[in-house]
Chain length 408, copies 2
């Protein structure tokens, strides 16, 4: 009998957001009349930009004709169309020394952050933040980089970087790690990172021959000029860092699906007979196991990078940040300790309960408000919940009103 | 210094179709005036169905509004929308006992056939056809299932199933394999498989505890009633087979990106403590490492499954099959040994040269016709080339005319 990948049996059995979805569905079925306000998953709430709608419709019209199809209807480059990659350099990486062919367009930052570890040896030492976006942990666990089941919220085999109120949710540089996952603005804590803080990681990585995987899916929420949007703002990062970016949260593409990953040609690891560049490896991975992003979706993404598109994106992000500011303020008025919400759509909230899932259940049952239990993101998340500002202003106001007299 | 996945250094350095693309590009640059007719890669040539264009445009209009976005604009189910999965059961698997939740919608059969091996132990024994669609081989090689570099076109560690003129390009059931890749109608040979032939594989797999990965991306090209479109037409296949299907070749979605994989709940492998079902494992894989297919693309795919959509698809496939029949006939008249082209868009052609790349270069230089060198698909492909019928009838006629006086 063929053997399955037994790491699937070692990992916790269900993905965080699936569990939340199931709990909410059950609650809805048991309470058919009750209003539910979802502030759990970080899903976009406002429409995609109008310029994107028009660009995508035009693209579908094109590939519905003989002539148009022959131009753009068939297989596109697995790496993404050059017009999109070039525009990304112009709009997102101007002056940072990134070239268009170092940008790989994909169908999601989740996929890319999950898949990138395929380029490493099975025995590399992985460092992840705690709390952490579960995809970094799960993808490495499934690839065989854990040595046993979770124990007290942590897998043996990984290095966990504590992100706590004490260090302002920016961890210390970890010793002994080969690969360091960072996410700023952070999911779930909402914390950003300043250039001098990021510099410590870059200097360490260069000195020790480590690799930084920098998840900047929320880059466009940054308003504080002291915080970096891209790791490449730090000198030397092009030698030791990969960056993940997305249209999901900036342009409300969560259901439209487009993202991109920057792999500088100068990033190298240890091969069989000396140093090898990750760029051709990722190119090989993508050409072998991926077939490019839908053409009309790439046109929709391109449109977000025009002047009008960027204005629409900014207006939409501003609305989310207004929500976030309001949530932050209201929870603060209740005397709760909160971070995030200023340069991020997430408000990380210390609750008065030991167990995050208890607070989750309490808020769902008492107020119909869905949050994300902090413990789902790691041991340091225990006692916290994450509120997402991806909601309508009306629903945010309603939710904050419902929470007013509750003990969170 | 962090270690890279050194299997990347063991595999052949470039993916077949990228190499062809590069050669054609070079030829174009050196011969700017020359007309090139591409009959290499199996890329769709006719427009996507009109019903799909309309459905996708409507979907983009929807998610461009507040109300529409809140219904369908955000994250969809990673497994695909139920309306699409249910329609697929109705149109493609009627009476075969497949349920909607056994169908996982994805952005490509290439991705799914490449990713599915993640569910197996590293030490499972893989059997692949020779000639073979390179993705099966490369994805398993990168995952560490080879024990060294290619030698005479084959990797140590795999079982190769000979597909030759002698056995009608349907291989013998391989002994000792844990996982058996099959592709019918076959890429590259164009051969189909009859029910009694498939039954031998199913019976063997059930008896030996092996798994069949059945790639049926070209199912809708079958016109011969004795050939199966789905492995589930064979009794018992639901206990031992996964099936990969696609909208790419049927509905010309190569650039639009939508496919689906059938994982029956009854398929099991050996886990840590007994048998485990692959269905929840694939579900875990997809929810952890994938974020669903673009909503408007799923609407476009759904539209192909309506009566009008299916009629448009059939008309488009008929045009490709007419091309294929013509190519088959013309090459036959030249005295060449050909297979495929009757239930498949590919015509597998034995040439008079020992080396396939020589024929490739000869046809490109003499006629401006691009084929695919058979040796790119494996040792048994040496001396063959593959012609793809995905072209306009005009270009096919022109190409066949240009080949008339050439010695292939």
């Amino acid at each position: 009998m063929f053997k399955v990948n037994q790491n699937y049996e070692l990992i916790a059995s269900s993905y965080l957001f699936s569990t939340i979805g199931k709990k909410v569905k059950e609650f809805q079925e048991q309470n058919p009349g009750r209003e539910i306000i979802k502030m759990g998953i970080g899903d976009a709430i406002f429409p995609i930009p109008k310029v994107s709608v028009e660009a995508a419709k035009k693209a579908f019209d094109e590939i519905g004709t003989d002539e148009g199809f022959r131009k753009f209807g068939g297989y596109g480059p697995e790496q993404g169309y050059s017009w999109l990659r070039e525009k990304l350099v112009d709009v997102k990486f101007k002056g940072l020394g990134i070239s268009a062919d170092e940008i790989f367009v994909s169908d999601g930052a989740k996929c890319d952050t999950a898949n990138f570890q395929e380029l490493f040896g099975v025995d590399v030492k992985i460092a992840v933040p705690d709390p952490v976006y579960p995809v970094y942990v799960d993808s490495n666990a499934l690839a065989g980089r854990i040595t046993g089941k979770q124990d007290n919220g942590r897998y043996p085999g990984f290095i966990y970087m504590d992100c706590t109120a004490k260090n302002g949710f920016v961890p210390k540089v970890p010793e002994g790690a080969d690969v360091i996952y960072l996410c700023f603005p952070n999911n779930p804590t909402g914390a950003g990172i300043k250039k001098e803080q990021a510099k410590k990681f870059v200097n360490h990585a260069k000195r020790e021959g480590a690799l930084i995987l920098f998840d900047a899916a929320y880059a466009d929420f940054i308003r504080d000029e002291n915080m970096i949007k891209s790791i490449y703002e730090v000198d030397g990062a092009k030698d030791c860092a990969i960056e993940f970016r997305s249209f999901s949260k900036e342009a409300n593409f969560t259901g439209t699906r487009c993202a991109y990953t920057v792999v500088p040609k100068t990033v190298k690891g240890m091969g069989l007979e000396g140093m090898v560049s990750l760029h051709p490896m990722w190119n090989r991975r993508q050409t072998t196991k991926f077939n490019g992003v839908s053409y009309p979706v790439q046109r929709a993404a391109e449109a977000t990078l025009t002047e009008d598109g960027q204005a629409e994106c900014r207006a939409s992000i501003d609305k989310v940040l207004n929500n976030a500011g309001f949530i932050r303020q209201e929870l603060g008025l209740k005397g709760l300790e909160v971070t995030g919400g200023d340069n991020s759509p997430y408000i990380w909230t210390k609750t008065n309960r030991q167990d995050s899932w208890e607070t989750f259940d309490y808020l769902l049952n008492k107020a119909g408000v869905v949050c994300t239990p902090g413990s789902g993101f790691g041991r340091n998340g225990q006692g916290y919940v994450r509120f997402s500002a991806f909601q309508t202003p009306e629903n945010v106001a309603k939710a904050m009103d419902k929470l007013k007299n509750l003990k969170i």
